[in-house]
């Protein structure tokens, strides 16, 4: 039974197709443009650090090896060090964009090859750790935030604070010595003492199990440090949601407390958390580097560490650019994801 006459102007039927889609493309273009600018700035900073600051890369490279002046000059020419600054910069940009990240004199391989080889182990470690941390952080954060001041909440906060206050690598060392060396308190060496695999060549399931077994301790270390941040994010998100009136409506409908939390509060609280989680990935890279070093995990972090010994500047520069570019991409994803998920932002 229709009651009353609608005096309000009828709204356009259905979601507005035309303006909405072009709005999204404008947004996308803006964000991608900003990312490109960031990347360019990154190249500038990288150039400044690695090409301008070192006093003489050639002498660093040839340290400890008898080299004649003529050879050093030849090396300088090869590296393009005798060219004017802006030319060097342009060459640098051109090379980087085409994938040429220089040559590592220590490994005698192109930097890009080295990075490509080590990319997968780092992705595996960071990816697994991120997934576990997110799941754990959200689960704990929701429950801590729903009952602020409760025992669970306060112990979660205390544990988070403690884990933040220790260096990641130290946590890794302790775990390694307790569970990987077999020499502490009679605990046997359950987990391998480092590396990514013990048996070479054996493919298939045994290989996967082998790698997985090696992954446990590094992953545990990385998770211990980063899940605390996700707990904090989710917790404050839920606390913010708790004050909202629509939760009272849900309660008035007769829903149980867990249902109100799960079906109403959490989806709203997750929205801002999702983007923040992506933004945290940049901070996780530091942790990943130290974990790889402690466990001799053959990834980009370990590569960076070995590059420090000489120091192999080209290799360092390559890893620096790759890490920073990855963060720029993650930030871009975070921006786009928020837009895609929030119905309020989506249809504007």
């Amino acid at each position: 039974m229709s009651v009353g006459v609608q005096l309000e102007a009828p709204t356009v039927s259905g979601p507005e197709e035309g303006p909405e889609r072009s709005d999204f493309w404008i947004y996308l273009a803006r964000k991608v443009g900003a990312a490109i600018v960031s990347f360019f700035m990154l190249l500038v900073v990288g150039f400044i650090i690695f090409s301008l600051m070192p006093s003489d890369p050639v002498s660093a490279l040839t340290r400890g090896r008898p080299t004649s002046d003529a050879q050093m000059n030849q090396l300088r020419h090869d590296l393009g060090l005798d060219q004017p600054l802006w030319e060097r910069f342009l060459t640098f940009v051109g090379h980087t964009l085409s994938g040429n990240l220089g040559y590592s004199y220590e490994y005698h391989q192109p930097v890009s090859t080295l990075i490509a080889d080590r990319l997968w182990p780092t992705l595996l470690l960071m990816g697994t750790s991120t997934l576990i941390s997110i799941w754990l952080g959200i689960w704990l954060g929701i429950r801590a935030g729903w009952h602020p001041g409760s025992v669970l909440d306060r112990s979660a906060s205390a544990v988070s604070l403690a884990l933040w206050s220790v260096p990641t690598f130290w946590l890794g060392l302790i775990l390694l010595v307790v569970f990987g060396s077999g020499t502490v308190a009679g605990i046997p060496a359950i987990f391998p003492a480092g590396g990514m695999q013990t048996h070479d060549g054996a493919g298939g399931l045994s290989h996967i199990t082998d790698v997985a077994w090696h992954l446990v301790l590094p992953c545990l270390t990385l998770v211990a440090v980063i899940f605390a941040q996700y707990v904090t994010i989710m917790r404050s998100s839920i606390i913010d949601e708790r004050g909202n009136p629509y939760l009272l409506t849900a309660r008035a409908k007769g829903l149980r407390d867990e249902v109100v939390r799960r079906r109403h509060a959490v989806p709203n609280a997750l929205l801002p958390s999702v983007t923040v989680i992506f933004l945290q990935i940049g901070g996780m890279i530091g942790g990943a580097i130290t974990v790889e070093v402690v466990y001799s995990w053959p990834g980009l972090g370990y590569l960076t560490f070995t590059a420090l010994r000489i120091p192999d500047l080209q290799l360092l520069e390559g890893t620096f650019i790759v890490f920073s570019a990855a963060v720029i991409v993650c930030n871009l994803i975070a921006d786009l994801l928020y837009r895609a998920l929030d119905p309020r932002v989506r249809r504007q």
């Binding site: 010595v177 020499t183 940049g282 960076t304 120091p311 620096f320 920073s324 720029i328």
Partner: protein, 305 residues
Amino acid sequence: MSATQERPPDTTPVEEKAPSRLVPIWRFTLTVLRMPSGLFGVLVMLGFVLMALTAPLYIHPSDLSVTQATGPLLAPPQQGYPLGTDPAGRSVLLLVIWGSRTSLAIGVMATLLTMVLGSSIGLVAGHYQGRTGRLLMHVTDWFIALPGLPLAIALAAVLGQGAASITIAIGVTSWTGTARLVRAQTLAVEARPFIERSRALGATDTQLITRQVLPNVMPLILVSSTLTVASAILAEATLTFLGLGDPTSVSWGSLLNNAFMQGAVTAGAWWYLIPPGIAILVIVLGFTLVGRAVEHALNARVQPR
């Protein structure tokens, strides 16, 4: 802040003089100490500083020298060596105590650098709104996106091994948080009427910033600095562990680096690995808790009872 004296305007701009700051500071300190977190944190801070300063009184160079050490090699805790020994026979306890000096020194220096850098940028960005300010904020935002450790590693590697390069690396990677805070606070302070009055009476930008804005922003900088020391100590440990520190100096990070490089892990030398980490944990907790307590105390002061 109410003016307690006002001079008739002449060529110098009228200055709002703040009341004597001694009494509020004392009361403020008491407020901080009354909180359990504040008390613990301050005790830890003072304890470690004391320990670091008095160490030369009872630790001789021979205790720290690799060649002159006389203890058993990499031995677990025992008589005379409460925390055991390192592979060269030195007492781990003495090493950890001595290590506090370098770790604290670098932590404090790096924090100073961070504060100066971050505050300057924040003050300028907040005061000169408009293109300069916006540009600075864009740069800050971009900097925040850079992953910290790779940048620190890059800088420290290029600058060479040593305490100075680590300090600079930490400073360059940590200033953004302070800059943002200070900028926000500057904006808030500059919205207050007494700033307008001073400006109307001809105060220059420098005078405004140094005499009016800075004193109001100081408390925030104080809070921020305690938390920064905490993260600077963590950063120093990490960078030294990776081999970027001075190889001859003893710090907690270098102890762990030595332990790692010399196979303490496989040897199961837990007495060599645990103490430096515990020291870091305690001092970082101490500084963090003090920072939080100071923050609470400041908020309590702002809100009228």
